[in-house]
């Protein structure tokens, strides 16, 4: 009887231990929410998407891209937005205007990448102010690449610019880099700068608003593209240059920009 009881108890305890261990094995270990942790499938995404874009950069001079921004942690609306873009067959690529997270926790970057990874076309991003919080810039660089970069597609140069100020140590954006790269240095049909914060928004205090706009005028820029204000805007804010801002994801709008050799047009899409 004593022996039977012992075997019964040992058996039950082993069973509990084994089932506990099995449960444990399927859960991840995490060292911290601010950890600079990026899965290998989500690394170097800017270059990987540029490679995909290069593969479709044929001799045509017209194309169409979607511009979205500020999804933060509105994941359900964000999924709908990606589905809506995938339902179209006339888009060559997508640009995201920044604020891909709310607090720059590594899990938020992962959730963003899981959803945007469902796009049928390549995508490129600029960093937003929320993505600079905590170790966000380091995660962004590991997951995407440098925060300032340029690329060209079918005769158009895109200048992707990190113009976050407050969260970047309250220092001015790298305007020298920006000015240098805004040059139309190879007979491009257009040069389009993309940056998170429009020059009239909160962080552009002191001289920065006028510095930005003088650069636009000096380099004959026609269109500047932004996020940040969570409100759709497409107009000539300072009389000469077109400024495009799209709303945040719960606003359920985005923009389609159609570009050819001489012109471009912007269409607001509601989804």
């Amino acid at each position: 009887m004593q022996r039977r009881k012992f075997i019964k108890q040992t058996g039950l305890l082993s069973l509990i231990t084994v089932s506990g261990l099995l449960t444990g094995c399927s859960l991840p270990f995490e060292y911290g929410p601010h950890d600079i942790k990026v899965k290998s499938e989500f690394r170097n995404l800017t270059q990987r998407n540029l490679d995909k874009l290069m593969a479709i950069d044929n001799n045509k001079s017209s194309f169409r891209f979607a511009f979205i921004s500020d999804n933060h942690t509105f994941y359900d609306d964000f999924e709908d937005q990606i589905k809506d873009i995938n339902s179209r067959d006339d888009i060559d690529f997508v640009i995201h205007g920044g604020d891909i997270t709310l607090s720059s926790l590594h899990k938020e970057f992962t959730w963003f990448n899981e959803i945007i990874g469902k796009l049928d076309v390549p995508f490129l991003t600029v960093i937003g102010n929320h993505d600079h919080l905590s170790n966000g810039k380091a995660i962004y660089e590991k997951s995407f690449g440098p925060t300032n970069y340029t690329f060209t597609f079918r005769g158009v140069k895109f200048v992707m610019f990190d113009n976050v100020i407050w969260e970047n140590g309250n220092k001015n954006p790298d305007f020298d880099w920006f000015k240098e790269n805004l040059k139309n240095d190879d007979n491009y049909n257009h040069v389009f700068p993309v940056s998170h914060i429009p020059p009239w928004a909160d962080q552009f205090i002191n001289q920065n608003e006028s510095i930005f706009n003088e650069m636009m005028l000096e380099k004959n820029i026609e269109l500047s593209i932004h996020g940040h204000t969570h409100k759709y805007y497409f107009d000539k804010r300072y009389d000469e240059i077109d400024y495009l801002v799209v709303g945040d994801t719960p606003d359920r709008n985005y923009a389609i920009i159609t570009v050819d050799e001489d012109n471009y047009s912007v269409e607001k899409i509601i989804f």
């Binding site: 019964k8 108890q9 039950l12 305890l13 509990i16 089932s19 506990g20 099995l22 449960t23 444990g24 399927s26 859960l27 991840p28 270990f29 995490e30 060292y31 911290g32 929410p33 601010h34 950890d35 600079i36 942690t73 509105f74 994941y75 359900d76 964000f78 999924e79 709310l102 607090s103 720059s104 926790l105 899990k107 959730w111 959803i115 600079h132 919080l133 905590s134 170790n135 966000g136 380091a138 407050w166 969260e167 309250n170 909160d202």
Partner: protein
């Protein structure tokens, strides 16, 4: 996966009540200690308070409400992206089950984690407008788990426990509640640890 864990906890409780007898986990202290002398030293792997965290455990109410002050480091960070975490870990021993001289206990608790790293603030610097951001330094991390305690025949170290915990964090829990995309099963992580009792 979480369901399985909960079933396991329930199984432990049910089976233990049928086969194990009652008793006390640790012998009552015959020596009166100074208030600052901890009851146990803890070392923990993972659990969102660092790669490895060490700490001291105090008994707040008898031995069923324990508080551990933990310090955790993540070694892979460079100086500029340092990541140190202080955690005030409140652990509740829900029930105690005894088998021979071993004590099993399902636990639950709430850890208050204070992360010190780049661009995390309790109060944001003055160049930010008021209430531009919510503080991002302190996080609340609930957890459930279980521990096994063995008494040791040693005068200095009177016992040892091993524990495993499944935890999450306020931000993740909020997204799991607020969105359909983030599932409850996506937000949990596992930690393992041991305590040495003095």
């Amino acid at each position: 996966m979480i369901q399985r864990f909960i079933y396991t906890i329930i199984a432990i409780i049910m089976l233990s009540t049928s086969v194990l007898a009652n008793g006390s986990m640790t012998e009552q202290d015959s020596v009166k200690r100074k208030w600052y002398v901890p009851r146990a030293a803890k070392i923990q792997y993972a659990g969102n308070i660092g790669f490895m965290a060490i700490g001291a455990t105090y008994y707040i109410v008898d031995d069923w409400y324990q508080m551990s002050l933990m310090y955790g480091i993540t070694s892979s960070h460079s100086d500029t992206d340092r990541l140190n975490t202080l955690a005030l870990k409140n652990t509740f021993l829900i029930k105690k089950f005894h088998y021979k001289n071993i004590t099993f206990s399902p636990t639950a608790g709430l850890s208050v984690n204070l992360a010190s790293t780049h661009n995390t603030y309790r109060k944001f610097p003055d160049h930010f407008p008021d209430q531009y951001y919510f503080q991002n330094k302190i996080h609340f991390a609930p957890f459930v788990g279980g521990m096994i305690y063995y008494p040791l025949p040693n005068k200095t170290i009177k016992g040892i426990d091993f524990y495993a915990e499944v935890g999450t964090m306020d931000n993740y829990l909020l997204e799991a509640i607020r969105t359909d995309y983030v599932k409850y099963s996506d937000i949990w992580n596992l930690s393992l640890g041991l305590s040495l009792y003095f």
